[in-house]
């Protein structure tokens, strides 16, 4: 690992807090909208369908794009500065990025609030939103580029100044995240800038829907790993230490981050398995790639569990399972990591079902899908975001966490609430309930079978809202709690000290070239075909 430095002084406190507060503040609003939608769908509160979909657009944009991007950039700057023991390279550029993202978020939010951009967070053409929606989305994405560039540049500089030294694992993970993000953005940025913005501004009269959907599917899978990698960074390098243990293997972490980068990009066509514009062979190729990306998660489950086991045994745990009870269940950072790991199991299983080429048709666009990503993203990933916030906050504010008890309660509430929400939700999908419906006007015999499950979901949604409010209130109160000189941020040490790692696991040059080759194989024809199969473009349609 790097030489110990004055870590506290390099932590970008203002920058990180500014990002994290946008993320978590809007996250609380988004959670309330989620509960509102549950109540509206069951007609507990009566609202027009258009209001339901408007709320859903805002909920999706906030939780999937705003919470994630702001959290990752803020968390990323913090991890990069503290793990490399040096200040953020270009602070002015970082703030420029922050305000660009903020302006984009406000623009998109106002656009959605006006009712002219009810296109949900997937904004599938040829339904076209007001141009401010796409402009806002583009600014949010573009505003994250300074972070991408800074993360890569700081890693490269550190390597130059520390030849033959392994890049700290936390930073290796964040670098893989930044590189992945650059690749990921290509699809959606091309779609928004060259297709959707021109149509929404009236500069173009038609839109190639097949091309747009294919470009969006380029982004749709790796974006999930952009959200996930920072959570894995925390699981590998923050959680084991908080639990009082060691990281089981540094190399395994590196292999996992490389795999996530290389495997998650060339496989996006599994999002359009049921689309008529792509041929079966290409879908099958991407389906097989999708199974490969299960590998890094299986490895992560092992390594993080083994790391927690070292903690449990150091704390006096004996026997095959005795170490589990000895884990520090009251320590919020460790608890969040443990609960996330548990959530990853059923969430990952659901993902394998979705990825199954032939089985997918049974669950496609049913409630099963929304249940799946709420469980794995809203459950596993967001739990690690909470745990990371609890680890970072004292170091960002110079004050102790207002209430560790409330933090633990909040994490349990979120975990139980998310399972209460998503288990019946999965069942609804298997009972053929479509996703994204404002209410269920179908034959009463069919709807009657859904109602008990929907009722349980509302209970889960209520628990989640209480948990979200508790989380934000605790962070807020921590700005006024007792000042405490925090320990400098350090990351988990490995069982065996890491002296050297192979060059392949200390950089990304070779992997980027491999990725270029894989992307060419996977996407050249599926995208290129639209220029010679004789497509008929579609006319743009409004949101009503």
């Amino acid at each position: 690992m790097s030489a110990p430095g004055p870590a506290r002084s390099v932590a970008p406190r203002g920058l990180a807090l500014a990002h994290l507060w946008v993320a978590f503040g809007l996250f609380a609003v988004g959670s309330l909208l989620g509960l509102f939608q549950l109540l509206a769908r069951e007609r507990v509160v009566a609202v027009p369908a258009a209001t339901y979909y408007q709320s859903m657009t805002l909920h999706g944009v906030i939780q999937a794009f705003v919470l994630t991007t702001f959290f990752i950039v803020g968390f990323g700057y913090f991890v990069t500065a503290t793990s490399l023991s040096r200040p953020v390279l270009w602070p002015r550029l970082a703030w420029l990025g922050y305000f660009t993202m903020l302006v984009g978020t406000v623009l998109a939010a106002l656009s959605i609030a006006s009712g002219a951009s009810t296109v949900l967070y997937t904004f599938y053409p040829p339904m076209i939103a007001h141009w401010t929606f796409y402009a806002g989305a583009a600014l949010l994405l573009v505003g994250s580029l300074p972070w991408t560039v800074t993360t890569i540049a700081m890693t490269a500089r550190w390597k130059r100044e520390n030849p033959n030294q392994p890049v700290p694992l936390a930073q290796f993970g964040m670098a893989s995240c930044a590189i992945l993000w650059a690749w990921t953005l290509v699809g959606v940025v091309v779609e928004v800038v060259f297709q959707l913005l021109p149509v929404s501004l009236g500069l173009s009269g038609t839109v190639d829907v097949g091309l747009a959907r294919t470009l969006f599917s380029w982004t749709l899978h790796p974006i999930v790993y952009f959200w996930l990698i920072p959570a894995y960074v925390a699981l590998y390098t923050i959680v084991p230490k908080a639990a009082g243990g060691y990281l089981f293997s540094d190399e395994a972490g590196r292999i996992v981050f490389v795999m996530l980068l290389v495997f998650s990009l060339p496989i996006g066509l599994h999002h359009v398995f049921l689309d008529p514009e792509q041929a079966a062979g290409w879908k099958l190729l991407h389906a097989l790639g999708t199974f490969l990306v299960a590998l890094p998660t299986l490895l992560t489950g092992f390594t993080v569990s083994a790391s927690l086991e070292t903690a449990g045994r150091l704390r006096g745990g004996r026997g095959l399972f005795g170490w589990i009870g000895k884990l520090p269940w009251r320590e919020p950072v460790a608890l969040g990591g443990i609960l996330a790991l548990v959530t990853l199991l059923p969430g990952g299983f659901g993902g394998l079902v979705n990825a199954s080429y032939a089985l997918n048709v049974m669950v496609h666009n049913t409630a099963w899908i929304t249940a799946h990503f709420h469980l794995i993203f809203g459950g596993a990933v967001v739990l690690v975001y909470f745990a990371s916030a609890y680890a970072l906050w004292p170091r960002l504010t110079g004050r102790r966490l207002a209430s560790r008890g409330a933090a633990a309660l909040q994490l349990w509430l979120w975990f139980v609430g998310m399972l209460t929400l998503t288990v019946p939700w999965h069942s609804l999908g298997l009972l053929w309930m479509p996703r994204r419906i404002a209410f269920a006007p179908y034959d009463p015999q069919i709807v009657a079978r859904w109602q008990p499950y929907s009722g349980v979901m509302i209970v889960g949604g209520g628990m989640l809202v209480v948990s979200a409010v508790l989380f934000v209130a605790n962070l807020l109160a921590s700005h006024r709690s007792r000042p405490e000189m925090p320990e400098p941020m350090t990351y988990a040490e490995t069982l065996e000290p890491v002296v050297r790692v192979p060059a392949l696991l200390n950089g990304f040059t070779v992997w980027n070239w491999l990725l270029l080759a894989l992307m060419t194989i996977s996407w050249a024809y599926p995208i290129g075909q639209f220029f010679f199969i004789g497509v008929h473009k579609a006319l743009p349609w409004g949101v009503r």
């Binding site: 514009e277 041929a279 199974f291 299986l298 666009n365 994204r436 179908y442 473009k537």
Partner: protein
């Protein structure tokens, strides 16, 4: 670089698991011919009303000489045309659907009839409906037939939830 033996073992178990799932996927696709709808057939959705195949009098159920049945559907905000169809169970069906406006989805409960309906393309699904399967989820009628809902399952605007029809499945 050191990799713990237990870790090495887990790596190979995981790899084996993933490869086994991949082999199963390829097997079901190749041997059982289970594929998602992937016909890459273009159509001009802006002039769908002038397309001879999707003219109103050609929509709905048509029996072919070889005993198979073709069902043609047009999906447009916020209805499915025709709204009700009757098809035989245990008979090879070909569903051909096209959109007249935005993106739609087509899903028939209790069956594997599922496809996105993308403007500019004809979606084609080949299947055979099992009466037992639909009876588990649908409404069983007095004559032994079963009615199941046909949903638009892709958000298409504020009337989306009301865009649905019925499929009546008869004994063959």
């Amino acid at each position: 670089m050191s990799v713990h033996p237990v870790e090495r073992r887990w790596f190979w178990i995981s790899t084996l698991l993933v490869v086994a799932m991949g082999v199963l996927i390829v097997y079901t696709a190749a041997a059982m011919r289970i594929h998602p709808p992937s016909n890459v057939e273009t159509i001009d959705s802006t002039r769908l009303h002038l397309n001879p195949e999707f003219a109103e009098d050609r929509l709905g159920v048509e029996s072919r000489a070889d005993g198979s049945v073709v069902v043609r559907l047009v999906m447009a905000r916020y209805s499915v045309h025709p709204q009700e169809i009757t098809v035989p169970a245990g008979t090879p069906l070909v569903i051909r659907a096209a959109s007249a406006d935005v993106l739609h989805g087509l899903h028939v409960a209790g069956t594997n009839i599922g496809t996105q309906v993308v403007p500019g393309y004809v979606s084609e699904v080949h299947t055979t409906i099992s009466l037992e399967s639909v009876a588990k989820v649908g409404v069983v009628n007095a004559d032994g037939s079963v009615t199941v809902p046909l949903y638009c399952n892709e958000y298409c605007g504020p009337g989306h939830q009301s865009m649905w029809g019925r499929v009546k499945v008869m004994r063959p």
